[in-house]
């Protein structure tokens, strides 16, 4: 699988609506491709962030205006970023503040990605975690050896679970994927908050704890 194919399917992967074979292909590709992992994490952040905002229905006039704007602009953008088709086809029911906040989140994520791709941080960064994805897209100013140990453990467990998962029945697989997604969303949110405020002790504590939870989850499914 190449990056374009992966990014076309990644939103359906997050929704859990892919066929078994496609899921396996995506996960294999994510295990090897940092760029696609970053796209997945950004989408997770956006989905998670928008879920936290209050629900307000926009007026019909707002939708009409948005649809007209989208119709004008969608051609070149969709060709450049295939995964945007996912956003296009979803009914998000976002209010204006929600849309503004989501746009802000996208701008921050893109800016952060550009900055980190141009300047290498002098501080040690958390490294990738294999198939189930601890993102390397964003820098985390934590150099705790606990993180490195846990990440090694997550890599090992992820590989083991990936090998076994192919034989699971759909219900078991779905339970695993759903809960792994929850943990990854929490990790993404922790990273997001740490990027905003790297000195935040509570976010650091929560992040470390979320890593441990990921280990617990993987260990729980390792013996199926």
């Amino acid at each position: 699988m190449i990056c374009n194919q992966c990014q076309e399917l990644i939103s359906d992967y997050i929704d859990g609506s892919l066929e078994l074979g496609e899921q396996v292909q995506i996960e294999r590709h994510l295990g090897d491709c940092e760029a696609c992992r970053a796209v997945r994490d950004d989408l997770l952040q956006i989905v998670h962030f928008s879920h936290q905002l209050p629900q307000h229905a926009p007026s019909g006039a707002v939708w009409t205006r948005i649809q007209a704007d989208v119709a004008q602009q969608r051609g070149p953008w969709l060709r450049a970023f295939p995964w945007l088709t996912w956003l296009k086809t979803r009914r998000l029911d976002l209010s204006l503040p929600q849309m503004a906040a989501t746009a802000a989140a996208i701008v921050i994520a893109v800016s952060a990605a550009v900055l980190f791709s141009r300047h290498e941080s002098p501080q040690p960064q958390v490294t990738g975690a294999g198939a189930q994805g601890v993102s390397t897209a964003e820098a985390i100013p934590l150099s705790n050896s606990d993180f490195q140990q846990i990440e090694k453990q997550i890599n090992r467990l992820s590989e083991s679970v990936e090998q076994r998962k192919v034989e699971w029945d759909p219900e078991l697989r779905s339970a695993f994927e759903r809960n792994l997604l929850y943990v990854d969303q929490c990790l993404a949110e922790c990273r997001h908050q740490l990027n905003d405020n790297p000195a935040d002790d509570v976010s650091q504590e929560l992040m470390l704890n979320a890593y441990r939870e990921k280990v617990r989850l993987l260990e729980g499914f390792e013996h199926f």
Binding site: Q52, E167, W168, D169, E171, L172, A175, R178, N179, Y182, V183, Q185, C186, E189, C190, Q193, D200, V202, S203, E205, L206, N209, A210, E213, R216, L217, G220, F221, H223, F224
Partner: protein
């Protein structure tokens, strides 16, 4: 010569066979199966306070204290489910054999109040009532209810699901409740001193009537720490996508 040697060794071989058969019999006795009807029923008579471990995969676990000294475990399971039990002293270990499926088994347990519990599950709600021993609950996708519990130590971890606790904390005890995606709803007597460490990534912490008496507190949007009535037991509450709600009885 060889014949007499053969005769001499026969009793020894016979007794070895008997020992082997007896050992196999003991092993089989210690290992139960849900059986073709899907029912598992056992009664154990521990000499002291029981330590019960249940490792389930998919299904409800209900545990309630009773006045008897025995431990009764019943499970309704799918016919394909294999349930094993092992008893060593006061340790009773019951586990559903794992395979590639989420085979269902629902457990009903009655035991003495001073028993200790270790409950593991993947999917299925867990309820514990009236138990006073150590409690450890480890699940993935479950709502957890602990009611009328007066335990020296409790550790509950669940990935997705709500945790409800209505009980008492003991002086010097340790109580930890964690859900990645679910509410923590904790009801305590107003006279219970404790050291609180509450963390909610969702920034949704409501300490109710306890907040005004919290001393030495550090209060942020995602975390609150402090001592209630000068502290005592350690109460750690952690949720990521959910609320922390503390109520006075």
């Amino acid at each position: 010569m060889s014949k007499s040697k053969s005769r001499q060794t026969r009793p020894a071989a016979f007794s070895s066979s008997l020992i082997l058969i007896a050992s196999a019999g003991l092993l089989i006795a210690a290992t139960g199966f849900a059986g073709p009807s899907g029912k598992f029923e056992r009664t154990y008579s521990p000499q002291g306070a029981a330590h019960l471990t249940i490792s389930n995969v998919n299904g409800r676990i209900r545990v309630a204290a009773w006045d008897k000294k025995t431990v009764s475990v019943r499970a309704d399971a799918a016919p394909s489910v294999s349930i094993e039990d092992r008893v060593v002293g006061e340790d009773i270990n019951i586990s559903v054999k794992r395979n590639f499926r989420l085979s269902r088994a629902d457990f009903e347990v009655s035991l003495p109040a001073d028993s200790s519990l270790v409950l593991r599950n993947v999917i299925g709600n867990i309820e514990v009532q009236g138990v006073n021993g150590h409690i450890s609950v480890n699940s993935i996708d479950s709502d957890i209810r602990l009611v009328r519990v007066n335990s020296p130590a409790i550790d509950v971890k669940v990935t997705s699901g709500d945790i409800y606790f209505d009980g008492e904390l003991r002086e010097g005890g340790s109580y930890s409740f964690q859900s990645m995606r679910g509410d923590l709803d904790v009801t305590l007597p107003g006279s219970t001193p404790f050291n609180l460490n509450a963390r909610a990534l969702s920034e949704n912490i409501n300490l109710g009537g306890f907040l005004s008496h919290l001393t030495g507190a550090s209060r942020g949007t995602k975390g609150v720490s402090g001592n209630y009535l000068n502290g005592g037991s350690r109460l750690t509450l952690t949720t990521y996508e959910g609320r922390i709600l503390l109520h006075k009885k």
